[in-house]
């Protein structure tokens, strides 16, 4: 078991690192798409290669990010019923889900899509648009993304079995930074308490001196 848990930690680290890289593709997609739009409207130029890179990037984001999303418990669940059961029962159901739902899906998709990737690679399939891109890299993202997802699934499985055996912490609540919502709330709270004081001082200041006409709060 110790070896397996070590493997699971390795997988988590790998997934973590891939996620940290893939997230930059979001920025790349935003910038490229905005540049495309401006180029098309303002300069009336466009390139199919650049239009296609948009969805290549999108595919890379959600496929390569799938394992990371799983690590962060990001694939939503319907827990109206399951939420009422004990933690151990929930973990058992998740083990069932990983083995019986996730793995067959991953294996099927890889099995079905792989030949198409090979074929596209062999034939050098190109986009039907003039100046378009080679197709196999984007096709290859599907089996790659699913493989990463499956790998993370293995890690999640190990962690859950480890939890049932009392060998590791609750894997559904990983030690994690606070959520984006919590952080937003924290930031507003921090500014809200101070500004009220600041606002009143500001108003008094203005009344006492002259209207400096400050448009916005710093």
């Amino acid at each position: 078991m110790e070896g397996l848990l070590k493997l699971s930690r390795r997988i988590d680290a790998l997934t973590e690192r891939i996620g940290a890289l893939v997230l930059w593709l979001v920025l790349a997609a935003v910038l490229i798409s905005a540049a495309n739009a401006v180029a098309r409207k303002v300069f009336d130029i466009g390139s199919n290669a650049f239009l296609e890179i948009q969805w290549y990037l999108f595919a890379a984001i959600f496929l390569l990010g799938a394992g990371y999303t799983m690590l962060r418990q990001g694939h939503v669940k319907i827990d109206v019923i399951l939420g009422r059961f004990s933690k151990r029962t929930q973990i058992k159901v998740e083990i069932f889900g990983i083995v019986c739902f996730l793995f067959p899906f991953v294996i099927q998709v890889i099995r079905l899509v792989w030949p198409i990737v090979v074929q596209a690679y062999a034939s050098g399939e190109l986009s039907e648009n003039a100046g378009g891109l080679l197709r196999w890299p984007v096709y290859a993202l599907i089996p790659t993304g699913f493989a990463l997802l499956g790998l993370q699934g293995v890690s999640e499985l190990i962690k859950r079995i480890g939890f049932l055996m009392g060998r590791c912490d609750d894997p559904t609540h990983p030690v994690q930074q606070e959520s984006a919502e919590e952080e937003l709330a924290e930031e507003i709270r921090r500014r809200q308490v101070a500004p009220e004081v600041v606002g009143m001082v500001e108003a008094a200041d203005d009344l006492a001196n002259d209207a400096r006409g400050r448009g916005q709060r710093p």
Partner: protein, 592 residues
Amino acid sequence: MIEFLQANLAPVMFAGLIVFLLLGYSVAFSLAACGLFFGYFGVELGLLPESLLHALPLRMIGILKNDTLLAIPFFTFMGLILERSGMAEDLLDTVGQLFGPIRGGLAYATVFVGAMLAATTGVVAASVISMGLISLPIMLRYGYDRRLASGVIAASGTLAQIIPPSLVLIVIADQLGRSVGDLYAGAFIPGFVLTLLYAGWVLAVTLVKPAAAPALPLEARTIREPDGSPGMRSVLVLFLLAVGGAVLFAQTRPAETPKDELIVVSMCVGIGIAFALAVLNRVAKLHLLSRMAERVTFVLIPPLALIFLVLGTIFLGIATPTEGGAMGAVGALVMASSRRRLSIKLMKQAMEATMKLSSFVLFILLGATVFSLTFQGVDGPRWVEHLLTSLPGGQIGFLIVVNLLVFVLAFFLDFFELAFIIIPLLGPVAEKMGVDLVWFGVVLAVNMQTSFMHPPFGFALFYLRSVAPHQKHVDHVTKKEIAPVTTGQIYWGAVPFVVIQVIMIGLVIAFPALVTGGLVKQQEVDLDTLQIEAAPSDYGSGDEAARPPAQEAAPGDAGKEGAATAPEAPNKEQEEDPAKALLEEMAKEKKK
């Protein structure tokens, strides 16, 4: 046994789906597993062809190529950056001060800012958290009824679901095979009416029970002139100047200018005038404008500019929703950095959240694709159709039952699941019954919006609960003790707004013109009679004639086609040649 299954595999599979989903494992994988399980089952029993799953790779590749869905990460990223840019706080503070002096003013400000945030950030959680932390304490401090205060915040937060650029509408458009632009245009007026209904409810409460929403007392009005006057006259004058400028500008435009273009461009002119005056006043130290007028202008301009950049260009057909989303995301980055709120950490957080959302949404779609492949194999769509077409009452009966169904399901499923599982089943039936799919989509969007404020699972209520005071505390301004907001108050506060929502669903069903008669119809009325006859038949039914080319144009070459037609579309040519104008209008329509 086999015969029973043969005849009833579709209903059995649907029941199986419910079991798979309620089990509580990730929706995306449960959907796929359900499809795979029944697929193998069917093949083993000889009910389904063995080649069933071979269509899967092509469908998956089709999802990758889908340009529409690309707008999802862009709008998500834009919202995440904006929610941390401090825009919401400035808006709430300033608009609260602006409306504060009237009875119910803080509640109106919440509704108004909620609508503005909906049109920019479009994130329910962020709107509710911001309003719950900024407006709620002020409302509590000055004695607002707790149910009204929490209800109005939760409801205004959910406006993000119906007012464009909402993600729900993108997904619905994709699933119904309609353009996102059409759904955005269709949802615009219902979203606006809904905002008015919320404000109307606040008005009704203040009339019946004035104590429930008192005006801000004098000492709480912080934006005042040196002599203590509120400076409202200046706001009014500036507002009138801007409106006057916009109307004057509108009248100088050629009469043939399409109405939507006219409205958007004139609004821009009006906003520009107000902004220019405020800047002039500040730079030249003229002291002609009150602090309030200046503050309101400077706070409102950035979000309005962003709304124009994104929604204006989409409505005008200048940009596709995907391009609009990308421009909006860049605009959000610019705005956040100009407010010195942009950091690498924030960028990384926003990108990470965007990646996770894209991944979970698209995986639900992938899972749903596996499910629907098998479901089609077992003739499920026909079963659903029989089930729904046999309902009494024709179209209206169908709509009522469907809406009841979605309303109930919304208690358990969130809108992405509803959109990917239920809509593909309902869409074809609706089309067969002659229901306009854009209208249908908007009705469902208004309906799904309620899922955010249903007690007890509504997301908006959950987020409000997390930021509303849990304990008795002493207010640091008035030094009075303030009781906590109870969960019951939050739940009961949402109830009137859920009722408003149901009324709105009824209104949209009863008056389809709210959706289909939006900006598009108005512009048709203004054009020649010839066009009135020609254009609606292509648009309104939105069917065979118009669709195939629109879909072909959707992938890569949409860009080039748009580039050829869109820039020429405005003014000059239209004056001379109505037929050409019509063609261009249609091209624009398609592109949207």
